[in-house]
């Protein structure tokens, strides 16, 4: 993501964004994209509007009226109109995240790159950000990086799974689940049996009800135990991919 946003120089190879080379045409690439970094700081003394006005200048939006229009449009899209004059220092984590999203929208980007946008948010705020991203994805490309698999299932049309810098999988969320369909099982176990199951299979989830433990595993077949085949979730698919064959470039 840092390379796509021109913040990090690739050690080799290159990529093109909107036809522009990320190594050579950095300025053009930056003009095309909006970027919400995972951990970002904002200037605490500025208000929401002032922050976005500053970012608008960084986007070279010269005309004040045009800049104001875009700021108000972005604030409306992420529900920040009520706090436009509030200092950043006095915003909640969720609101700051929305300011981050608004700043990435100011240049009306064709490509929106968001890095872990829901990390650290409470469930309500996470759902709100997800909905915004889904809406934004209707008329632009959104590249979303996350470790929260349910975000992917809720938002993404296409998924790429990267592991140690290499692509493990590309396809739709359904394709991802299909990759492990028929290999996901639920097994009932007792406490002493748990270690043996973990040693033998890939565990994706565990649920404890009283003395009973239900373990969710990935396996081609389950030997010597009663196992129930279940419909795979995105979590199953992800963990299955991580334990599958070596990655491709």
């Amino acid at each position: 993501m840092s390379m796509l946003t021109t913040l990090l120089e690739p050690t080799r190879g290159t990529a093109r964004v909107g036809g522009h080379d990320i190594r050579r045409e950095k300025h053009q690439v930056r003009s095309l994209l909006g970027y919400l970094p995972q951990d970002f700081g904002l200037y605490p003394s500025l208000s929401v509007f002032e922050t976005l006005d500053y970012i608008g200048l960084l986007y070279n939006i010269k005309d004040t009226a045009e800049r104001t229009r875009r700021i108000e449009d972005a604030m409306a899209r992420v529900n920040l109109m009520d706090v436009r004059d509030r200092a950043i220092a006095h915003l909640s984590g969720g609101m700051r995240q929305r300011v981050g999203l608004a700043q990435a929208l100011l240049n009306e980007p064709r490509l929106l790159i968001v890095d872990e946008p829901t990390a650290g948010l409470d469930p309500e705020e996470r759902i709100r950000v997800r909905s915004m991203l889904t809406e934004l994805g209707q008329d632009r490309v959104v590249i979303l990086s996350t470790h929260l698999i349910e975000d992917v299932a809720a938002i993404a049309d296409t998924v790429a799974v990267l592991h140690e810098g290499r692509i493990r999988f590309t396809g739709t969320p359904d394709d991802m689940r299909t990759a492990v369909r028929g290999r996901v099982w639920e097994v009932q176990a007792t406490g002493p049996e748990l270690a043996a199951i973990r040693g033998q299979y890939v565990e994706t989830a565990l649920q404890r009800t009283g003395d009973h433990i239900t373990v969710r595993i990935i396996a081609d077949q389950v030997d010597g135990r009663e196992a129930t085949p279940v419909e795979p979730t995105m979590d199953d698919a992800y963990i299955g991919l991580m334990h599958a064959a070596p990655a491709t470039n």
């Binding site: 021109t6 120089e9 190594r23 700081g41 986007y59 005309d63």
Partner: protein, 428 residues
């Protein structure tokens, strides 16, 4: 959907700088600093003297010495601001060019320094007005404000560039260290190394431009891709450095500093010897208007030659005394001539403007740091000065008739008696 930058052109630099200034202006620390500067100005404005000269010099010196440390700290932190706040990725992924962002950030921060400087001088001006009941010579504040603004420009730009390029505010602290060394090292450092002497302002202003250009040109060079840096940031580093070196060389070549180069003219002045009944040692020095003045230019006058330190209250008091003598006895052929002994060649002119004097106030540009007053400048050496201020009264043939030093020069009847005796013995 449109490409924002191509549709909208470039954001003006002033708008960017204003936004940058706003980032820190809203902070409590900034408001406290402005208040502290006003308060400091209030105390500095109470300096003695009949006019605003000494108050202006004292305020300027304080700004150049102490506000420079604030400048170093503030600009070092400004350079590291994005790293500290974690805003680097957000800011630098935008299409604004590196040089404009670097320059705007500097200008925004420098404007805040100017705000502090303005508060300091405003406090001094108001204090001066309220304590003396007059604003006579207030234009001296303007001169000193300009001097301090240039000094702060150098200090801040150097700290900013170093902290930015090294990506740590500690690098900016090197400039603070330089300031400490110059303050402590007057015995072994030549005058050309001092940013706050008026004669060095051009060199250090050019050096400031070099630092700003250098930071804009060489900060994150890989961020540009194939884009060519703007012309100004390609030209500014070599041009600024060249002007700085040239100006420094001129200052050394035309100056007098035992640690670097001795001027033949100044050496000749220093070789003279002042004795009572002997002819007063001559000199050829620039006055407050930049014109060269020599005692020989005013034949038949009773000279009251006062050697003084323009940074001291005693110096201002002596100048006030000389002004009173000039007003009262100028028509009898009494001509006061003040010789300012200061490493800063601009201090004498500022004091003269501030005190509203009309007689020659000369600058001994050969002044340099020395433990003994007689060694501090060629004129001081020629007049065998043991204590400052120092006054010589001559007769109309330029022969020394009286030598007065210390408090008696500006307090008590001795100087007046000596002048009256001259007038009585040698009426026109």
């Amino acid at each position: 959907m449109t490409d924002a930058s191509s549709a909208s052109g470039r954001a003006p630099l002033y708008a960017l700088a204003r936004a940058e200034a706003r980032i820190a202006l809203g902070g409590t620390a900034q408001r406290v600093a402005v208040f502290a500067a006003l308060l400091a100005g209030w105390f500095l404005g109470r300096a003695g003297g009949g006019g605003a000269g000494l108050a202006a010099i004292t305020t300027g010196d304080a700004a150049c010495t102490y506000l420079a440390f604030v400048a170093v700290y503030f600009l070092s932190m400004t350079a590291a601001r994005d790293t500290a706040l974690g805003a680097t990725a957000m800011v630098w992924s935008k299409p604004q060019t590196t040089e404009r962002l670097v320059a705007a950030r500097y200008v925004g921060a420098y404007l805040q320094l100017l705000l502090l400087l303005s508060a300091l001088f405003f406090g001094a001006l108001i204090s001066r007005w309220l304590h003396s009941g007059t604003l006579m010579g207030a234009t001296a504040f303007v001169t000193q404000f300009g001097r301090a603004a240039i000094v702060l420009f150098f200090a801040s730009s150097a700290a900013y560039a170093l902290a930015l390029i090294a990506d740590t505010p500690l690098a900016g602290a090197l400039v603070g260290l330089y300031w400490v060394v110059t303050m402590a090292g007057q015995a072994f450092l030549a005058k050309v190394y001092y940013p706050y002497y008026t004669q060095n302002l051009l060199a250090f202003a050019a050096l400031g431009l070099f630092f700003v250009g250098f930071a804009a040109r060489f900060y994150r060079p890989s961020r540009r891709g194939l884009s060519v840096p703007a012309l100004w940031c390609r030209v500014l580093p070599p041009a600024g450095l060249a002007i700085a070196l040239w100006a420094s060389w001129i200052t050394v070549r035309d100056g007098h500093d035992p640690l670097m180069r001795e001027s033949p003219l100044m050496a000749e002045i220093a070789r003279q010897d002042a004795v009572v009944e002997g002819v007063a040692p001559g000199f050829l020095l620039p006055d407050q208007h930049g014109r060269l003045f020599s005692l020989a230019d005013a034949p038949g006058k009773v000279f009251v030659v006062g050697l003084l330190d323009p940074h001291s209250e005693e110096g201002a008091l002596l100048l006030g005394r000389m002004r009173a003598l000039h007003r009262a006895y100028g028509r009898f052929g009494v001509l006061p001539v003040a010789v300012c002994i200061s490493n800063d060649t601009g201090a004498g002119a500022t004091l003269a403007r501030g005190e509203g004097v009309r007689f020659p106030v000369l600058t001994d540009w050969g002044s340099h740091h020395a433990p003994r007053a007689a060694d501090a400048s060629p004129v001081a050496g020629a007049y065998r000065v043991t204590d400052m201020p120092f006054v010589v009264v001559t007769d109309r043939r330029r022969r020394i008739r009286d030598m007065i030093e210390g408090i008696s020069t500006y307090d008590g009847p001795r100087l007046l008696q000596s002048v009256l005796q001259r007038i009585a013995e040698e009426p026109r």
